[in-house]
Symmetry: C2
Subunit: 382 residues, 2 copies
Amino acid sequence: MSVVEQLQQYPPPSEGEIKQMKPVITVPVAANGGSGTHSYSKNSLYQQLCANLEKEKIQEAIRKKLDVKTLSSVSNTFRIADMGCAAGPNTFITTEHLLEAIKQKYQNQCPNSEMPQFQVFFSDLPSNDFNTLFASLPPDREYFAVGVPGSFYDRLFPESSLHFVYNSYALQWLSNSPQELQDKNSLTYNKGKIHLTSARKEVIDAYAAQFARDTGSFLNNRAKELVPGGMLVIVMPGVPYGLPYAETTAGMMFDTMTSILLDMVEKGYVSESQLDTFNLPFYAACPEDIMPLVEEKGQYSIERMELTNPSSWLKGPINIHEWIDHVRAAMEGHFSRHFGSGIVDDLFGRLIQQLSDNYQKLESQYRDKTQLSVILKRKNSA
Amino acid sequence: MSVVEQLQQYPPPSEGEIKQMKPVITVPVAANGGSGTHSYSKNSLYQQLCANLEKEKIQEAIRKKLDVKTLSSVSNTFRIADMGCAAGPNTFITTEHLLEAIKQKYQNQCPNSEMPQFQVFFSDLPSNDFNTLFASLPPDREYFAVGVPGSFYDRLFPESSLHFVYNSYALQWLSNSPQELQDKNSLTYNKGKIHLTSARKEVIDAYAAQFARDTGSFLNNRAKELVPGGMLVIVMPGVPYGLPYAETTAGMMFDTMTSILLDMVEKGYVSESQLDTFNLPFYAACPEDIMPLVEEKGQYSIERMELTNPSSWLKGPINIHEWIDHVRAAMEGHFSRHFGSGIVDDLFGRLIQQLSDNYQKLESQYRDKTQLSVILKRKNSA
């Protein structure tokens, strides 16, 4: 007798149980998994070097603004979440930097108390490569490690359960490209373009509105999950208010991608409507985007908000090949899902070529204040 | 300039940071990942049907013994851990059954209080396929889902942070096969055998001692992680005290595996010493194994402990092919790691054949009291 036949005699699973067996369909796209040539884990050093620039400022904020005495009065476990952790290894380095500062603060502020236990929640989309992340966890870590699958635009944690949230190079990924861009009869239809770069005002506004909706959700959900006095750090691509994105290094890259895809349309590799309906859900924010979202709800105090140069660590000329390898590891999924994986090698290969051909222009593009860092603290009420 | 060259100008990562990038080497073996023919996720219905037999008893224990009023007085989040969750989907069904009973208990015991939030920690070895697990999380779940990579023989959680721990068909997997079995000059050298089945007393004693060490660690670590009043449920392969394992259905399977491997030695596919040094780290326990471990430390009260028939749901004859597919999904890794993956298809193919050839004997093997279930409650002190 087969199991199927036996099950007919056995109480069948309930409708709820059957539902549970269906896989979740997740719309957002995670960074490349695994540890191969194009994996995020092998191509994320740039992000680490950029985020590293904020290390001192974050540690200073912990030293001066995080009241660990009050935090530890309600719980003997200090909970940290890295939302958008990808498959490592950057998240482990960041965690060490945070722990170093938080432990130091405990020693200074509560010299006679026992150090709390640390639980670190590594969170990313369910499609993120958690297997690679877990396989590379530091063996000598001094914290309890946990993985949390889900979108940070949704609730991920119980109320008032986190003390520190870190979000690095993640919030630029919108939950989705703005729906308005799909309306063929509207001014927001982004014909012949793949991003807000060099797009008309209506398109840029639609992107900004989507970012406001998404980041509003992000801030709201974190406000529920953070304990009063808990800290929220955001590091992401930024841009000064009003600067056309086409003038930045990244903007030139997006425009080059567009021109390659237009050429593919001409050659028939990609259909025109495929191109017109593709809009990379990527948004570099200015402080003026974030400020009203934070102030509107009154849930947070702003401890720091500034634009910095993310490539100040870069000595000498840009290595375009390495740079685009990093871009590919983070973005490839968006292109392959929409256009099919067949065009991806060609797209990124030509991107490297064309950017190299236009090296003088690339070097002169704006990249001074293109990293935004925000440090917030959860207020006691509201 | 390459990133490597740039890094030479940039503060190099500390020794601690470099260490963190090395992968963890985990000795234990997880169930088969993915969702293919031999995956655990496709071959774990039997385990679910067996564990299901305990559902009523566990729900009854929650109803009668779990004091949710006291538990909720200290935390508004109720934390459940399934340790040894594999890649699903059984763990999701179990979680629903537990939540159903716990919520019911809350409604009865605290009719005027708000329902707590539930956080469910799915835990297994770091080599477990968490990607498959996370991709199949029930979309309509009413709990916050978390993955915890690690061995349950170690500490996995902060102190007093869990309210309910569930451990199903997992504790039979020893942390390692007993080291004494590797000593060629001792009575514990398990020559020509792969398990304690049909082995001499010294080998059986070595297995029992390893189980006592491992389960001692398991109970100790859980005692630290559970809040007072928290519940710990164990379901695992069992055997009545003193019954030779060779008389059970599983024992006959192990003996058949041994005879196939001996034949492979004869044919030269496997070396003699390879066979002699392989000992499947599998232990079916009797209540007399567990009882002294629990009583010695005084950390738990025993709410229930009994042996039951795990195949009482089986109507009609055993479907050997299906059964061995389930065994393979759970055990394959142990064989392929030691003997190489080349022999695995042959081993399990011949196992099905030989068990089918000896069907009469198989049907008459002992399988009445071969599932052990244990329900413990964390005491307030000790």
